[in-house]
């Protein structure tokens, strides 16, 4: 190695050191969201994300919204790569269609954090980490909520439960169901899960599913639904049929579920806050840039909420 190359190498090193310290002082993080206007979860998420970024003087953010359009999201990914942001957070409009765009970012050495719902497995090699809710834990916590209530009522040895799951094929639906199915026999081995039917995240559909359950089974003690929207549909079916004393447990506490809990008709759910979701995504991106060792899957906590402790939680905005 002659002097010139050594010089070049050291100056290059010095450059990267300077570059590194600059990046540590202020980092630019771009986010492309799914569809902000479509529901208040996403709207609240965006507000919380911007607020969290403004509170942190080390971070500048470029906030983009794909409007639910895959083509626009891919274009936004390309633009963020071109702007040479330090990291990109993506809330995928489609878990597979964005993979090539994510690969481009990874080729440009820009770490990508996936937020809220993960991309398909084919894209994992190009992603730094995932930040979002742990749906398996959510399912098992719902099972625990239900079992605890049965024990309190003294029916843990005879109770019969039906399940209304989310849309078939959706990771969230599959994982929540798995969490519930696995955990229930562990905590309440004598409770029978009699049947599971999909409610497709849809309140009307799940009301129909519940109507069918009520005709089919004379004895139903508990209903687990993949989210509160479907849970309230099932509740409406039970109310219409005049069947009391059924314990309803859901997931992703919606405002309608919270209200039904206030009325004492609905027992419990899982509290998933868009504010926590947004903060977790930003934190994951920052820690990735700071070079911290992170697990591939970074979950934020989604606590249990029941009629007993609902006073600790504010009513969901969605």
């Amino acid at each position: 190695m002659n002097i010139r190359t050594t010089l070049a190498a050291t100056s290059a090193l010095a450059m990267t050191a300077v570059g590194g310290s600059v990046a540590a002082e202020t980092m630019t993080i771009g986010i492309t969201q799914n569809n902000v206007g479509v529901d208040s979860y996403q709207t609240t998420y965006e507000k919380a994300f911007i607020a969290a970024a403004e509170a942190n003087s080390k971070v500048d953010v470029v906030v983009l919204d794909a409007g639910g359009d895959v083509a626009r999201q891919i274009a936004q990914m390309e633009d963020l790569i071109q702007q040479e942001v330090d990291a990109i957070i993506i809330w995928p409009t489609n878990g597979e269609a964005v993979i090539p765009a994510v690969r481009k970012a990874s080729k440009a050495n820009i770490p990508v954090v996936v937020t809220n719902s993960n991309i398909a497995e084919a894209g994992f090699p190009f992603v730094a980490s995932f930040s979002g809710p742990d749906n398996i834990t959510q399912g098992s916590r719902s099972a625990e909520i239900m079992c605890d209530k049965f024990k309190e009522m003294g029916i843990e040895n005879e109770a019969r439960v039906v399940q209304i799951s989310g849309q078939p094929g959706y990771t969230t639906a599959i994982e929540r169901q798995k969490g519930f199915d696995d955990r229930l026999p562990e905590v309440c081995p004598n409770v029978t899960l009699v049947e599971t039917q999909p409610g497709d995240w849809n309140r009307e559909k799940s009301q129909k599913v519940m109507e069918a359950f009520l005709v089919k089974y004379d004895d139903i003690d508990g209903v687990y639904s993949g989210d509160d929207n479907m849970g309230v549909g099932a509740l409406n079916a039970a109310k219409a049929a005049g069947r009391d004393g059924i314990i309803f447990v859901g997931a992703t506490n919606f405002a309608v579920g919270y209200e039904a809990m206030e009325r004492g008709e609905y027992w419990g759910s899982i509290y998933q806050s868009p504010v926590d979701d947004a903060k977790a995504a930003l934190k994951t991106a920052i820690e990735t840039l700071e070079g911290k060792e992170l697990p591939f899957l970074n979950y934020f906590d989604t606590p249990k909420i029941t009629q007993d402790n609902m006073g600790d939680f504010t009513k969901p905005v969605f």
Partner: protein, 333 residues
């Protein structure tokens, strides 16, 4: 200088003037507001502009002919999604299993054929029933979208083929694959509209359908061909775009018809037919994508894009009216 030359020049040049304005505005504003050190008019960024314009741009060329004809096609977004499903799904059909990667051209052909067929259905109904194209394609927009949802419910249809992705990401002479398609389509449609009998007939029919019939132009078949062309282009746009992304949501392409019509109208084509230019439509498409990129570049809220485009659209139509008719039809209430 002949009377009206100036106004013609203004009309033709308006969209390019607007694009120039956007470029200057975003470059200057970007220097102050953007978090990025890269200039907005960076060469790569400008090349990517063409590529990102392709999905809407390719279809907009077909829409220009349709609108010069005095018709409209609202079903293009649904056609786009349906052809994408045919493309991605047919890649895994068992009958093609023996073909290996040669299944790709077969799937392309199937998707393009689907587009032509869907366009032909629109055209045939418009021709044989005489119902206004707006109503016919409103119906087929809902119908084709229904087929999309019937195919796979609310779930995405996916097939990620890296050979296909690599092809779509290739840059030949610095331009992306999608850009080449956009440029080629623009050139072909420009040739069709300015250098062929079919093109001249399109203007004649849009200008005065009665006169065109009297002049012996077979209006029905002519319109049907145009609907087949736009169906083909919607399919081509899907082929180009989904080769790169590999997965289609059932609501993909929704509202594309409105963005496309906006681009065509920005380019100065009249909703009533009889006037319009393919090259100006190209300008309209670029103007919209430039606005989306630019507002993202300076960190403006992305939803302001819609507001700004809405305002510009009204301004363009007002200017057009002033330049053409000197406000003769102003509502005097």
């Amino acid at each position: 200088m002949q009377a009206g030359t100036l106004s013609t020049f203004l009309k033709r040049g308006a969209i390019w003037g607007f694009i120039l304005f956007e470029l200057i505005f975003f470059s200057v504003a970007g220097a102050f507001l953007s978090l990025s050190d890269k200039a907005f008019m960076d060469l790569d960024n400008m090349l990517r502009l063409f590529k990102q314009s392709a999905p809407i741009g390719i279809i907009a060329m077909g829409m220009t002919i349709i609108m010069i004809n005095g018709n409209i096609d609202l079903s293009v977004g649904a056609t786009f999604a349906l052809c994408a499903i045919v493309l991605l799904d047919s890649l895994t059909w068992p009958i093609f299993a023996g073909l290996g990667d040669w299944v790709i051209p077969v799937s392309w052909a199937l998707a393009l054929l689907t587009g032509v067929l869907l366009g032909a259905i629109n055209g045939l109904i418009v021709w044989k029933t005489g119902v206004d194209a707006f109503i016919v394609t409103l119906g087929s927009m809902l119908g084709y979208r229904g087929l999309v949802f019937m195919y796979n419910g609310e779930q995405p249809t996916s097939h990620l083929n890296w050979t296909l992705v690599d092809f779509a990401e290739t840059q030949f002479l610095g331009l992306h694959t999608a850009t080449w398609f956009l440029l080629a389509v623009t050139l072909v449609i420009w040739f069709l509209m300015t250098r062929t009998i079919h093109g001249r007939n399109a203007y004649a029919i849009g200008d005065n359908r009665e006169a065109a019939v009297n002049a012996g132009i077979r209006v029905g078949p002519h319109m049907m061909i145009n609907f087949m062309i736009i169906g083909f282009l919607a399919a081509l746009s899907a082929v180009v775009f989904y080769s790169e992304s590999g997965s289609v949501n059932p609501n993909d392409g929704e509202l594309y018809e409105l963005w496309i019509i906006t681009a065509v109208v920005l380019g100065g084509t009249k909703l009533t037919g009889g006037a319009g230019s393919v090259i100006s439509t190209f300008g309209g498409v670029l103007a919209i994508q430039l606005l989306r990129k630019g507002l993202g570049h300076i960190g403006a809220d992305t939803s302001t894009v819609n507001l700004v485009i809405g305002l510009i659209l009204i301004a363009v139509l007002y200017l057009d009216r002033q330049l053409n008719r000197k406000g003769a039809e102003e509502l005097k209430i």
